[in-house]
Point group: C2
Chain length 396, copies 2
């Protein structure tokens, strides 16, 4: 945890199939913290999501988060609701925090009852292991992983009124990632003092252009949550209105969220390449995003990228069926800077140059609609045989 | 060709990479035929699509269709427009038909100029080989294939006023298949005498619940076309108003279109299983279709089906993010008749029964929203390693 006044821990509670894996994490603020959160837009919402939504809506100051991997506590009926509440109550009790001051997040298999004996023991264990070291943070990052190959974290320091302020976070992603909060859990902490309305405003603004701009497979999950706690331990003059201090905070939040969101795309299930789809020249931002999403979600485009094939035809085609106003004769398409399509036709590019543009591990698909000055950007990854392997063999 | 008064032919013109493959087909009606057509909704439309749209809009009686595989004549600029027109003119001239009485369809690689020397020779050759035999029809079915593994055709006979009437068709599909006219070409012929307005009405109604209800990968192409010619050779009293004769015609068209649409899903790229997603109990048909499409388009669901995994969690999840009004606690999900989810939770099903329901090559996903009495249905296939192989290695 980069931010002052936060501790965390991780334990292996035996929830994941792999017995020795870390699968339960805890995050605690020394001081009561202002909270903001955003959740999945899926109509089917896991029990922890429903509970957190209520807790955050009370406006109460919160103390921490308890999170488990291995079981999503989704589609688990009344027992699931009770289990989520029990996790909140127990985490608060074990850390000496007031009632209902913990948030809870779960990720993993859908439709299995939470193994509450293991979870209970795990929470008690985790509460006794809280700490501030780098190892503690790394343990937490690992405990929230499911099919992620790498832990994901980011942090930044900035000044507010001469005071050093910190903001950091970690997240998990991998499968079932799509715009509008995919199976993604992100935990953000800051020691900035900031009012609840501004904290929420900043989170809402930032999530729209970061976490919501990632797509791995278009599947938006039941459990997605971005949780942000601000405990004021930096001692800055509290931010209570929009202005330069708020802007500095928002910029820091944007930076960390962007890093985390990109890390999710980079570590998409089976991914071999990171892809940014940038659409410019749109009449409205919504059109730019619609085109970018259509390209980033096309299995044909993603397979072509996997094969290192500069298949501009599939990209132009996906732009065409996006539903946005697109004039084929105006489109200009570049991949990693090489102009491939203009005036309704492919350009003449030497074959070596054509294939070289697809070689890097980071692919920038840049499409100019030439109709206005709005833009949008989506991050994704390629589609590999490995993605199918992972998802055909994942056991229900 | 099942319908009377139609002839067809197929030749290998050398347009496809495989030199010995059939790749140019021709279809000719002995009598001037009433035409109806529907095309891709993609904003990027191939030259043949733009030309056919104009030709059909004139209301002129038509004589035939010329079609090639191996080159889509899409994103080919002014030359592409000229080439499509040249194909129409040449096909008419070579068959002694009046000017502008042929439609043209192309499928294959996007953005390459049409090899017009080969195409010209192919059209001349095809015009000299027209015939009515089963072998002629089978040749035509093969000439329109791209990555299709099997030719696709269907036919039906029915009575109108005591007269035997025939309606048949063939189509190609495979990759880039999605609702709203995917890369799919379908050619339908009938010897029914029917007015142009009713022919168009029937086609519009039928396409909405058949060809538009297929999805392989969500990619909607630049070239999709369904062309229908009615030459009246059956000698029935012409259908000029809605009524029992119209209903008989519409039922025949529905049957043939449904068979062809299912054949496309069954032969989707890399498909190992045919899937019907049926959603009932919706308040509006659009909601039912939206939920069905969301499930049928989910890569996670499709990978699970490939792996024979009854992963109801992914199905419920895809219903949840469809954007339609869905109440998790009301949902009832059956796979091949086995009730898997009810009351917001999975049912208790014996493991053998659970896994047995995914064994058949035909999978019926049946979801009851329990909110009304509208329904919708989408056909698709599973998502395999082979799909990625085909589309990562397909050469631009």
């Amino acid at each position: 945890m980069a931010a002052k006044g936060f501790r965390c821990s991780a334990v292996g509670a035996g929830i994941k199939v792999r017995k020795d894996a870390l699968d339960l994490g805890m995050l605690l603020s020394d001081l009561p913290a202002t909270a903001a959160a955003m959740f999945t837009t899926n109509r089917v919402q896991a029990a922890p999501v429903r509970l957190d939504r209520e807790l955050v809506a009370t406006g109460r100051k919160l103390r921490g988060v308890v999170v488990n991997a291995g079981n999503a506590n989704a589609c688990t009926g009344v027992k699931g609701t009770r289990d989520a509440a029990a996790m909140v109550a127990l985490a608060a009790a074990c850390t000496g925090s007031p009632k209902d001051t913990f948030l809870v997040a779960s990720t993993g298999i859908i439709g299995r009852p939470m193994p509450m004996a293991k979870v209970t023991a795990g929470i008690k264990d985790a509460a006794g292991r809280l700490g501030r070291s780098k190892e503690h943070a790394q343990g937490f990052e690992r405990a929230i992983m499911t099919t992620d190959l790498a832990p994901k974290s980011a942090a930044v320091e900035f000044l507010i009124g001469g005071r050093k302020v910190r903001l950091g976070g970690s997240c998990k992603g991998s499968g079932m990632i799509a715009p509008n909060m995919a199976t993604m859990l992100a935990f953000l902490t800051t020691d900035c003092a900031i009012s609840a309305p501004l904290l929420r405003k900043a989170l809402r603004e930032v999530v729209g252009t970061t976490f919501n701009c990632v797509t791995v497979d278009g599947d938006c999950s039941t459990n997605d949550s971005v949780l942000l706690l601000a405990n004021g331990a930096a001692g800055n003059r509290p931010i209570r209105s929009a202005g330069s201090a708020y802007n500095a905070f928002r910029a820091a939040l944007l930076h960390v969220s962007e890093e985390l969101a990109k890390a999710i795309a980079r570590d998409g299930e089976g991914a071999t390449r990171f892809v940014e789809v940038r659409v410019i020249g749109a009449r409205r931002e919504a059109d730019a995003l619609r085109v970018a999403r259509s390209i980033a979600s096309s299995p044909l485009v993603k397979c072509a990228i996997n094969g290192g094939d500069p298949n501009w035809g599939r990209i132009i085609c996906a732009a065409g069926y996006s539903g946005a106003e697109v004039k084929p004769s105006k489109l200009q398409l570049r991949i990693n800077g090489v102009l491939l399509f203009k005036g309704g036709m492919p350009t003449r590019v030497a074959p070596e140059k054509l294939h070289a543009c697809m070689k890097p591990k980071e692919i920038l698909i840049h499409l100019d609609l030439a109709q206005g000055n709005r833009r949008g950007r989506i991050w994704t990854c390629d589609f590999s045989r490995e993605y199918v392997n992972i998802n055909a063999d994942y056991h229900t």
